[in-house]
Symmetry: C2
Subunit: 332 residues, 2 copies
């Protein structure tokens, strides 16, 4: 059987209360006693049960992380920094890939609550915002990541999507492209990127056309399909702004398959600057998010929220950075 606090107490010749105190560094304990207990703990290889202590009201030292898909490089890179920072602070993280699927979102949220996670990091869009509102009402520590939705009244950390969309589109516009298609997801971030794009058009004195937006979800395969679609219905398109790297790469690959030279015949801008962006040829012009900073920050923030027991509802926007590589060139 498991070594319990009783075993330690017995062997050390003290009460369990004393042992508990040395574990948690509370109360007043004589140094010699402390030392004795320490020794016994080591000797017995005693590991305090998180379950038991959580039951008494202490924390579970566990965070829940919801992302659309952990196998998407952007989110796995994000997850990695979150994991590192969490572990540094003594927390472990349970990962949940929601696929932007309403049922899964709900199920995972329930699961995580049953597990009494200390806090939730939500980097996945929620079809049913009410679920989130409920969490807030229940005062469950919660920080949104890559999901800037002020209406929720919780802390949001994200890149400045508006500005990112603006930069990406301005870049294309300044290269002379006017026939630009946008590949977007059904998320708040995509929405803001589109607004940024629209703003760029206006800045350039051009009119933005909603019909150039194609809705889809992040995957290389979808990127390919989108290009097929574009070529069929808008063959005059000279540039594509994809709201994430995976889509951009799908476009890039299909272009290659169809003999369309990038960037000569088609310029492409992605978003996220994942590892994928560097490994393609031509390498992908994209908008970088400061993944490390964001991941680190979100953990610090959720920890703070947990400690203070109040939802701080800040709104933190990081600056995106347009990284010009080889998939964009002058329109001709």
């Amino acid at each position: 059987m498991r070594v319990t606090i009783y075993d330690v107490a017995d062997k050390a010749g003290v009460s369990i209360a004393t042992v508990s105190k040395v574990i948690n560094n509370t109360g007043k304990i004589r140094d010699s006693t402390r030392q004795k207990v320490w020794n016994v703990m080591k000797e017995l290889n005693y590991q305090p049960s998180v379950m038991a202590s959580a039951l008494t009201g202490k924390s579970t030292e566990t965070l829940g992380l919801l992302v659309p898909d952990i196998s998407n490089p952007f989110f796995s890179e994000l997850a990695r920094t979150i994991e590192d920072r969490s572990h540094e602070q003594g927390l472990s993280v349970i990962m949940c890939s929601t696929d932007d699927n309403e049922e899964k979102e709900k199920k995972y949220l329930e699961l995580l609550q049953r597990k009494q996670v200390d806090g939730l990091i939500i980097a996945s869009s929620f079809n049913d915002r009410n679920l989130l509102k409920q969490l807030v009402k229940q005062n469950i520590p919660l920080v949104m990541l890559t999901q800037d939705d002020p209406s929720l009244g919780v802390t949001c950390i994200s890149v400045d999507d508006f500005s990112g969309g603006f930069e990406a589109t301005s870049h294309l516009l300044s290269l002379g492209h006017e026939n630009i298609a946008i590949l977007a997801e059904n998320t708040s971030s995509s929405k803001m990127r589109i607004f940024g794009s629209r703003d760029a058009y206006e800045t350039f004195g051009l009119t933005f056309n909603d019909s150039r937006i194609i809705r889809t979800t992040a995957s290389v395969a979808n990127g390919k399909n989108c290009l097929d679609h574009i070529l069929e219905y808008n063959p005059a398109t000279t540039a594509i702004f994809a709201c994430n790297d995976q889509l951009a790469i799908g476009v890039l690959q299909r272009a290659k398959e169809r003999g369309i030279v990038v960037p000569d015949k088609l310029s492409i801008v992605g978003f996220d600057n994942t590892i994928l962006a560097e490994t393609t040829v031509p390498s992908l012009t994209t908008v970088a998010q400061p993944i490390k900073e964001m991941g680190s920050k979100v953990v610090d923030l959720i920890l703070e929220t947990i400690k203070k027991q109040v939802q701080p509802k800040e709104r933190i926007l990081y600056n995106p950075e347009l990284i010009i590589r080889e998939t964009t060139s002058k329109c001709r």
Copy 2:
């Protein structure tokens, strides 16, 4: 406060024992009572506490997953299938990236034990095999993934690394390459891939040279450095077999940077067939692992182990598949 079993019992006018029984579908309960309790649970949105039930000896419904690095596409893809399968079976998974760092390995193992995870999936090499042996001795359900080490006496799931190494090298050899460098990690899988490579040499009646092995760890950056090293000390090298895609891609990129045309001047074979392999240009010849099957299987197996409370110690090898793309060609 949280809704507890007492609240439900009160409101339903029964004892907590009865409620417990309907939750777990144990004992004999009158249908009408069951219905009544069900209704109250729904009404109160009651969520049984995993903590409390775990404390009574039931499972925590949690798995620990140890990988070298979740942001490595191979492992994030693997993690995704594991996560999916686990959730299907009602389990959540805590992720731990060890970086093949002995301290982290130890720390995470302790952490996961304190959390009383039901089982461990270990896809990370262990510097200190004793830690693993201890786990086995403590009878903690444990399955090794991508780590075929029969000496451990536990179930191992992996691709047939020997055969993978053989295939990769045979491919190169049959193209006429004889001056092949190998980029390997310090893992059991790399070791077997090297043996496979050696076997290929022997099959071709050639002698394998240990000095052509370069040890490193998985990352694009390391791949680049390795090529620099090779070019300096073995400029006659015509082909490289990298034990994972990241290294292969590093090589590919550096080759491009240095003006070495792939595959004309240098052939490259990777391993894993991650998303990266398809997105490069030229696309990467690599050895595919059946990630989905392996991920699914490992969860089923650990579940079985948990249920039966005995370590089954099977050894499951999946067949690798050489995928010939564009980074390999005849030596000339």
